[in-house]
């Protein structure tokens, strides 16, 4: 899908962040690592895109943030999903499923 290996499909980063934040409150680096782990290293997240997306999601009210001590005792901003964000994740997941199925149908047609 992507031109360069490791690039995300346009517009999917927000959805992936919501998906990761739904599990537990997590800081920015944690999100980046989790995306890489869960995609088996296919996706690599650049700090700029990640924090712009986090800012956008925060401003849209999908996530909330809180400064807390991290596992190795550093102050870090932890992000958690809001109720509104939970609804958004559900609807995005549904839409994504529909889109992927539609694209697959088109690609498989011969």
């Amino acid at each position: 899908m992507a031109d360069k290996q490791g690039d995300l499909v346009q517009g999917t980063l927000d959805m992936l962040i919501l998906k990761i934040v739904v599990l537990e409150p997590i800081h920015g680096y944690g999100i980046a690592v989790r995306i890489e782990q869960m995609s088996n290293g296919v996706f690599k997240v650049n700090a700029g895109s990640l924090f712009v997306a986090l800012q956008r999601l925060h401003r849209a009210g999908f996530i909330r943030s809180e400064w807390k001590a991290s596992e190795n005792n550093r102050r870090a901003k932890y992000y958690a999903l809001t109720e509104y964000g939970r609804k958004r994740l559900a609807s995005e997941t549904r839409d994504w499923g529909r889109q992927v199925a539609a694209i697959a149908r088109i690609l498989e047609a011969s």
């Binding site: 800081h27 920015g28 680096y29 980046a32 690592v33 690599k44 997240v45 650049n46 700090a47 700029g48 924090f51 712009v52 800012q55 956008r56 925060h58 401003r59 849209a60 009210g61 991290s70 190795n72 550093r74 102050r75 870090a76 901003k77 509104y84």
Partner: protein
């Protein structure tokens, strides 16, 4: 709901800029440090780890710039900076600033002036009922083809014989009047009109009454009736003498007729 959120955080970024910058700085450096530590745990030297992180994730400075300019408030910020820059430049070159201001003033003034004229003459309808049904009739001399004023006798004939017009009234807009009595005498602009002039234009009398039919006959002059019609604008300047119910309204369109006791 979400735009309110965005507005609130944008405003916070605008007015608590230092704190917001500081938080972003701390968050991003934390991110980079964690990434570096992770690499060092796998045996990479500090220097190499830093370099690898910068390659993989982008540099701290660039990231800060990207995140800091992503919100709507950065547009406001750069607009404000541009404005201040423009103000400084203008202050440094007062001659240039003066030329700019004069150019703008002349441009705006000329446009406003032209619009005012066009609006008054072309766009704005006359302040009378059915303004598109109002016509001015003139006479044209057969010998030289020049337009001239209507002879009173012709006016009476037209009014009696024409069937194309619902009503016809005459006006001589040129005479001046002198207002005297008490205080300094004033020169007022006015007009001689036929008796049905105001009813033709649908002008309402604020006070008193319109001309009577018998006052419009030859031989009856206004001065003998001692009942001039004055516009509200005039009556407000000499309100001591004439009771005027609407002092602030001006313009000659609306007339009142006031009983004026001869001095």
């Amino acid at each position: 709901m979400s735009w309110l959120h965005s507005l609130a955080s944008g405003l916070r970024a605008l007015f608590q800029r230092e704190q917001v910058d500081c938080e972003l700085d701390e968050e991003l450096s934390g991110f980079m440090e964690m990434a570096t530590e992770e690499k060092m745990k796998r045996g990479t030297s500090h220097k190499d780890a830093l370099r690898e992180v910068r390659l993989e994730r982008g540099s701290l400075e660039v990231t800060k710039e990207v995140v800091g300019t992503a919100g709507w408030e950065s547009g406001v910020q750069s607009w404000w900076q541009d404005l201040r820059f423009a103000a400084r430049t203008l202050r440094k070159n007062p001659g240039f600033a003066a030329v700019v201001v004069i150019t703008l003033a002349l441009g705006i003034g000329a446009n406003t002036g032209i619009f005012t004229v066009v609006n008054g003459v072309v766009l704005k309808p006359l302040p009378y009922p059915d303004p598109d049904r109002l016509l001015t009739l003139w006479e044209r001399s057969q010998s030289d083809g020049l337009q001239s004023t209507v002879a009173p006798a012709n006016f009476y004939d037209w009014r009696a014989q024409s069937r194309s017009f619902a009503k016809m009234a005459a006006i001589d807009p040129y005479p001046d009047f002198i207002l005297n009595g008490s205080g300094e005498a004033q020169r007022l602009s006015g007009a001689d009109v036929s008796g049905d002039f105001f009813s033709l234009l649908g002008t309402r009398m604020e006070l008193g009454r319109d001309f009577l039919t018998e006052e419009d006959r030859p031989g009856t002059s206004l001065s003998s009736a001692r009942q001039p019609t004055i516009s509200i604008e005039i009556s407000s300047t000499c309100s001591g003498r004439w009771p005027c119910p609407h002092r602030r309204r001006s313009g000659c369109a609306e007339h009142i007729r006031c009983a004026c006791s001869p001095a």
